[in-house]
């Protein structure tokens, strides 16, 4: 059963083969949990939503169209659950795209905000600091932008795949990813500058 396709496994599960769901859960354990952990910022929250997502898979399995792909369907469910979780548990909404970037008056371009190269992590403390800064920048991003950035970068999804997964128009995906990247750049610069000022 381990070499069955996702769709065949779900079909078998609907048909009464209970063990097929275990194979599916195991198969997506790493990939989905990583996505959810990055999205929600904690592994505990990620595990909660992971379980809720597969509960929804169980409840809705009979509605799945086996001619379609399982993975986007699963991520659609998971993203919805993650958004619900975030809405219920979010403690702050501080990020603003009103941050100066792009076609702003002082003439700076987006590229000015971006690092020229990825700095190689040095000491462990620097790695931890780097993680903290990135986490901070991502946490400040609103969920509907964050999910698109993470699906694009970590799941390597195309615009069309993201649109299918989230059930939103292709143009919306593009504009949201552009906004997400712009926002991330602006926040990254701010977080970075703040850290540098602290070091001085």
């Amino acid at each position: 059963m381990n070499d069955w396709s996702d769709e065949a496994l779900l079909e078998a599960y609907v048909g009464g083969t209970r063990s097929a769901l275990r194979v599916l859960v195991t198969r997506y354990q790493d990939e989905l949990l990583n996505f959810l952990t990055r999205f929600l910022g904690s592994r505990a929250a990620g595990e909660d939503v992971f379980q809720e997502a597969f509960l929804q898979v169980h409840l809705s399995a009979h509605t799945f169209d086996p001619s379609r792909r399982f993975k986007p369907w699963l991520f659609t469910i998971a993203a919805n659950k993650a958004r619900d979780h975030h809405r219920k548990h979010a403690r702050r909404h501080t990020f603003s795209l009103d941050a100066e970037i792009g076609d702003d008056a002082d003439g700076r371009t987006f590229a000015d905000l971006m690092p020229g190269d990825v700095e190689a992590p040095g000491e462990p403390i620097e790695v931890e600091e780097q993680r903290r800064r990135v986490r901070s920048a991502v946490d400040e991003m609103p969920p509907h932008l964050r999910e698109i950035l993470l699906l694009a970068y970590f799941q390597r999804m195309s615009y069309q795949q993201i649109a299918d997964t989230l059930g939103i128009p292709l143009g919306t995906v593009k504009s949201r990813l552009h906004a997400a990247v712009g926002g991330f750049a602006a926040t990254w610069e701010r977080v970075h500058q703040s850290a540098q000022e602290t070091e001085r």
Binding site: V25, E47, L97, V138, P142, H144, L150, H178, F184
Partner: protein, 255 residues
């Protein structure tokens, strides 16, 4: 600008492009190349976009799960099993124990009417308790409502969305305890849908009844059972009950 409204953000994003057209093209190109630096052109802008997004690699992942690690898999399957058992337990409720006409439209309308009246009175009393006069729709004086558990004509989704839309979570966190006037509790209920399953049992849809439990009131035993959700505290703010009355104008909710 708030980020809570995805639609508004999309509109704002359209109205005020965050990136230049060249920046957007670079983002598109990097995504199209699967973020693979080798697949990118030598364009400096693309290289910088790629470098920026590579910072995301520092984002901690779940850091631990491995294929074959049974704990999360087992927990997930147990969660499904547990939920299924609860659903089955609800599904065995014989239809005959329910009043035969309770779901009929005259009864339903009557019940909703009573519930709406209770809600209106309840909201008025709570707001008065906060020290602000509240006008009723008819302009009359609100009657007194004895403290107690009240069933509210809200769906659980309405409660959740109203709470999230109106109450910043920081307010809930920072609220002095004397501002917390009670809790909202959601009880799962089975609604027969008029069909019989293959096993001969009545098929039901799961719904939720939402109750307000005043602060200090002991929870009835019926509220302490698997599946019951305590939706959250109800916080008093000056002249305001949160979550708001469902029929309040939008502008009034925002204030």
């Amino acid at each position: 600008m708030s980020y809570d409204d995805a639609g508004a953000n999309d509109a704002a994003a359209t109205a005020r492009p965050r990136l230049t057209a060249a920046d957007e093209a670079a983002v598109d190109a990097v995504l199209g190349a699967g973020f693979n630096p080798d697949a990118l052109s030598t364009d400096e802008r693309q290289r910088r976009v790629r470098a920026l997004l590579a910072q995301l690699d520092a984002l901690p992942d779940a850091d631990g799960p491995r294929l074959g690690d049974p704990s999360l898999v087992d927990a997930t399957l147990a969660h499904i099993e547990r939920t299924e058992r609860q659903r089955e337990a609800v599904g065995t409720e014989p239809v005959a124990t329910l009043p035969p006409d309770v779901l009929g439209s005259p009864w339903r309308r009557a019940l909703l009417g009573v519930a709406a009246a209770i809600l209106m009175v309840f909201g008025t009393i709570v707001a008065l308790k906060a020290g602000a006069p509240v006008a009723t729709p008819t302009g009359g004086t609100a009657p007194t409502l004895a403290a107690g558990i009240t069933k509210l004509p809200w769906s659980i989704d309405e409660v959740e969305s109203a709470k999230q839309a109106v109450v910043p979570e920081r307010d809930l966190e920072a609220a002095p305890s004397d501002m917390v006037v009670g809790s909202l509790v959601a009880i799962p209920v089975a609604i027969p849908i008029g069909r019989t399953g293959q096993d001969g049992r009545a098929e039901v849809a799961l719904d939720w009844d939402v109750y307000f439990v005043p602060r200090g009131t002991p929870m009835p035993s019926a509220f302490v059972q698997p599946g019951v959700r305590v939706v959250g505290p109800v916080v008093m703010r000056p002249a305001r009950l949160v979550p708001p009355l469902r029929d309040q104008p939008e502008a009034d909710r925002e204030g």
